[in-house]
Symmetry: C2
Subunit: 321 residues, 2 copies
């Protein structure tokens, strides 16, 4: 018999799943949309659909047996219970227990950003680094910290929410209830809002054609396409998001003096090469020189598989994050 492992990445927009073998190779991948607006019940069904598809695969060998599930979930998690999730409609939901009962294997669960940074740290761009800050920019902005070679999670496991650092106290309202959070400036949600505002104000943009679809979700690939077309509004908005990420990086550089900042998440995957130089420029401008000089900036090397590999890392090391 050969052990297999399932890694899951539960995002605000989509759910990704991978079946790994003992050596950490991906045998099969699955993907579905989250449709968060349809409620918690529906999300659970979607998660089950992904797991079932990974297990029911025609490619699945008779000799393979599921050993464990690892997953990253946006929000604050304590002992397998999702306590609060700014972008998903569940609170106090015992997801770990539910999955353990349903699939009869141990489940290792963590905040998606923590799990993604753990993935980069065990298999990717942050390998061997002692002090690392991770920004994961997608529907929201997740964050994670590795300090003194250990994932830092704080007093009740709710640390690392660097997407909710305040970068302008009079800034836009945020999904978390506060205002002026980094997430309210530089997430895909924030970008979409600004695109809509600007279209409403009469600006012309290449993005309009995508906005004509029903129940529109801004895809990072749309922004990438618009940038390639030299769409001016998109250039401005992506520049502004990068600027804000750079300013937030400066604060992290002053506060933590990390040796590395890793940028990941859907937006960065698509636009990272455009965004990173601007992020670095503004980080330099707003941070103490000595701290800046001792910090490297890197794009995630695992891209959309960071959380999946982090899930595998949790399983292998028998920890939840």
């Amino acid at each position: 018999l050969e052990n297999t492992y399932i890694g899951l990445d539960i995002g605000g927009t989509k759910i990704l799943g991978a079946l790994f073998n003992e050596e950490g190779q991906i045998l099969k991948k699955e993907k579905t949309s989250t449709r968060a607006s349809k409620g918690a019940e529906r999300i659970i069904q979607k998660i089950s659909k992904v797991v079932d598809a990974l297990l029911d695969s025609e490619n699945q060998e008779e000799t393979q047996v599921l050993n464990a599930i690892g997953l990253g979930v946006p929000g604050i998690i304590k002992e397998g219970v999702i306590q609060f999730s700014p972008n998903l409609p569940w609170s106090n939901f015992p997801l770990k227990e539910y999955l353990e009962k349903t699939y009869n294997v141990p489940v290792f669960m963590g905040n998606d950003a923590n799990v993604s940074l753990y993935g980069e740290w065990t298999y990717g761009a942050a390998k061997w680094s002692k002090d690392v800050v991770g920004f994961f920019v997608g529907t929201g902005i997740g964050g994670a910290l590795i300090l003194d070679g250990k994932l830092y999670s704080g007093n009740i496991g709710a640390g690392g929410e660097i997407g909710h650092m305040i970068i302008d106290p009079l800034g836009p309202y945020c999904g978390c209830g506060a205002r002026g959070c980094l997430e309210a400036f530089a997430s895909k949600t924030a970008i979409l809002k600004e695109v809509k505002n600007q279209i409403f104000r009469g600006r012309e943009t290449y993005l309009t054609k995508f906005l004509e679809e029903d129940e529109y979700i801004l895809k990072s690939s749309h922004l990438k396409e618009a940038l390639e077309k030299k769409d001016q509004l998109t250039e401005e908005i992506v520049f502004s998001a990068s600027q804000n990420l750079g300013i937030a990086s400066a604060s992290m550089i002053n506060i933590f003096n990390p040796e590395l900042i890793v940028f990941g998440g859907g937006l960065i995957e698509a636009l990272g090469e455009n965004m990173l130089p601007v992020i670095e420029e503004f980080a330099a401008k707003y941070s103490i020189k000595q701290n800046f000089d001792s910090c490297k900036f890197q794009l995630s090397s695992l891209a959309d598989k960071a959380c999946l590999y982090g899930a595998l890392g949790m399983i292998k090391n028998r920890i939840s994050l």
Copy 2:
């Protein structure tokens, strides 16, 4: 023979010194102004003056012998060398070596905010806490972090500069070279600048009478007196500083999920009771509820002796911070 220890607190405005006995009692205190504007040479003379006064005391017993010196200095320190100090005119100055040669005892040195929080943690308000953030508000704003029960200092020892987190990217310029840092909003220096601006704009304030002195340094006691007189400008400015400290606290609460935030430094010593309720109100408004609810807020219990006791703590534990 009985061992004695000297603790020093080198501030932007004043230098404090204490002679401790083996039991940690203060035998003698000294104090002088820093006069930072007169250059590095002059500050060294001032430090020596304080140490000499502590040692040459008529009260000094014949049987007492100096065992070690501990000191806190504003700025980034590495291996006893002051690399950068936003409010003092020295860089790359080997202060530890100088003091060791001069007094022929081991010297333990650290960033003043780190040393102050270490004082609170070993002898004061933060005793036994696992995850603590310390704000020290005076001429500048120092910060320090105890994470997982250990003082966190980052990759090159320059972590904890939470006074230089950006709270408004278009805010006023800061001594560190960036703009919109917390320090540029809520330090005594920032408050003095705002008082002068407002007087220039024609506002009447009780503080005017203090400003008529030569080479004016705003004393926290002046602000306290003005608050007692219900001076409206002072009320507004202190409220605004508290608001900004609250917003910065919110970011720290979201990023670290600490169990305790300690507020110290000259401004807090004088006005802490007025400021703390406003700090807490704005921290609550701008942070994730679960994180806020798990965090306590406390005023420094060692007041202006936090750094001196931290120096003693360093000596006793044979560490530099």
